[in-house]
């Protein structure tokens, strides 16, 4: 059997910000029967996840994953359905989560490596895409980053940057559930309004005039836990307001990824880090994969909060794998609302809805328009 695969591959590794020629679209035929003979599992990709770390993966530096090379389909976690399998672990029709399905319609995954079987979608249950977001790596980052690294106590002030993003919005809601005072920082009035609706005690638009003054007023007793998704001068502002014994959870630094010259360094290091001395504070990083063994604990807690209506999440879907590069650019411009996904397959969209999620769908990136809010 032959299928026509469309994939978006790396054209030129960017030495700085993403460029128009960073990616290119390739169409090729995929011989499914040959792939299966090889022991591979062929997955029809349904959705892929677009994340800030995508930019880091494009750097030549070896980090926690192997460097990518020109010609490779861009790496992306995704969900999809098995169409053919050379592995006894997977059968055609199975829904799977893949650590790297990539920006493509069909992924031939050698020996099914990195694939996890998902529960079949059912009414009232989580859609497959939830395992790319609130029940996936962004939800895990929010859960373990906030609770394990940040260790917030009831009544403490927790500040979240990138608060309307996939990880930030979940981290903030978990902090509320744990009895903290939560201040979210995001990049538009609309995002801030959404955060207030989620129960954040304050939500501030960092692009608004008077932001720094409003921020100081919002944290009168200082910042006990800062869950940092953005880095840059914002990190300095908050280091300057750290409470005694304050903790900075280093989750990411989206403000710095675009500027990186490929050495794994950001262009702007926190000049105010010596306030860690004055306040006996700490900054701590973590990888979601450090917590693999404890994922079931987080999935249980998050699923329960979703079912109870105490946790909301939002997906922002860009249509078509060929639009993945533009979706990634949108992520860095702050244009997305909630977990950013690219829908690759035309079919199977029906199963994506649950009572606890709202979906924003974008045909053309930039031309955003809420499609449904359930």
């Amino acid at each position: 059997v032959v299928v026509e695969n469309k994939k978006v591959v790396i054209n030129v590794l960017p030495s700085g910000p993403l460029q128009d020629d960073t990616f290119r679209v390739v169409e090729e035929s995929l011989l499914i029967t040959d792939a299966v003979k090889d022991g591979s599992v062929v997955v029809e990709v349904d959705h892929v996840s677009i994340d800030p770390t995508n930019k880091i993966w494009l750097e030549p530096k070896k980090t926690y994953l192997k460097p990518l090379h020109p010609g490779d389909a861009m790496r992306a976690p995704g969900v999809g359905r098995v169409v053919a399998s050379g592995s006894p672990r997977f059968r055609p029709g199975d829904w799977v989560l893949g650590a790297d399905l990539g920006w493509q319609r069909y992924a031939a995954v050698r020996r099914g490596r990195g694939l996890t079987k998902l529960p079949a979608p059912r009414p009232g249950g989580p859609p497959p895409t939830a395992f790319l977001g609130v029940l996936g790596h962004t939800g895990m980052a929010a859960y373990f980053g906030l609770l394990d690294v940040g260790n917030p106590k009831p009544g403490e002030t927790v500040v979240i940057s990138g608060a309307a993003g996939a990880t930030g919005s979940v981290a903030g809601q978990i902090a509320k559930i744990k009895g903290c005072r939560v201040v979210g920082i995001a990049g538009s009035r609309e995002k801030c309004a959404w955060l207030r609706g989620l129960g954040f005690d304050a939500a501030l638009d960092y692009r608004a005039p008077g932001f720094r003054r409003d921020f100081a007023a919002a944290v009168p007793r200082g910042v006990d836990v800062y869950f940092d998704n953005v880095g840059g001068p914002m990190l300095d502002l908050i280091l300057g307001r750290l409470a005694r014994g304050g903790r900075v959870v280093v989750c990411g630094a989206i403000s710095g990824y675009q500027a990186s010259g490929g050495k794994g360094e950001v262009a702007y290091g926190p000049k105010n880090y010596l306030n860690l001395i004055n306040q006996s504070g700490r900054m701590q990083g973590f990888l979601v994969m450090d917590y693999t063994k404890r994922f079931p604990e987080a999935v249980r807690a998050l699923s329960q909060w979703l079912a109870q209506g105490r946790l909301q999440h939002r997906e922002h879907v860009v249509e078509g794998v060929e639009n993945a590069p533009r979706a990634l650019a949108m992520l860095f411009e702050g244009g997305n609302r909630g977990k950013l996904l690219v829908r690759v397959a035309a079919a199977a969209a029906a199963a994506r809805q649950t009572a606890s999620s709202s979906v924003v769908s974008t045909g053309e990136p930039g031309a955003e328009e809420p499609r449904s809010k359930l």
Copy 2:
């Protein structure tokens, strides 16, 4: 009774590096009888301590201590003898440690605030100056910073910058006592030779060609604990070599203090701090005063190691309070060897020697010449 006091006061608060006009010398008469009537304790200052934090104290920003103002004698911890007392807690002749005796010959300390009585100097015992160094705030910083914040395990690799300084040299020796592999970084061949003599496994001159390569070779399994006294690009280098779960003890950042524009920020923030994510590492600051209640534990341990000959320390003494500004400048140029002190009083130098300390004395800063090495 009237004594002639000579003091060095702040002339102009520097907005950047120290300037020639930052300090000026003032001579004035002090009416001891009047001071004592007021409840003050008058101390004849023997030695004062010169420390990297002195530069931070000159910034208008309120940190853990009140800002200084022009006309104030420069703040300095010191040791001296009580010459008159309006407090029942102190008697003339008592040796005292003062949190702020200041750059002056006589300090009238209101209600004896911040004064601690010291044991009278005796042969074989620690000299009063030890309480400004290895048994004082630099020793406490080394002890609690390394052991409590850094938490090194036997066999781990500990890297110390500013390793020939008062805090770094003690921290490195404690790490050796605790069974770690210790790499020291200092600014001259002579300093590195001294560190090797102290038992450091490796000592590297950061000014030498090939330093970065030699450093990489010296930490083949990465850096488990980095005790940072210097900040700047060195911090980035070491963040890039952090082992899994590595810890950065933020003790100071002498490379950045001179450049600070007075906002409490350093000019160079660590651009490589995102490696804390890749390595699940942390950076943590601390204040010596957080550990006040546990000082006796540290003094006991350090005194025992000194008596056993397992811990060496070195004092670098600059003569004359009028040379304190030049001593401070020397500290930032890396010219000192060991704990930098200014000898204020002409008398009482005899009691300063113990079997475990070596003393470098400098009449003129810059014209260094070992006076005794015991």
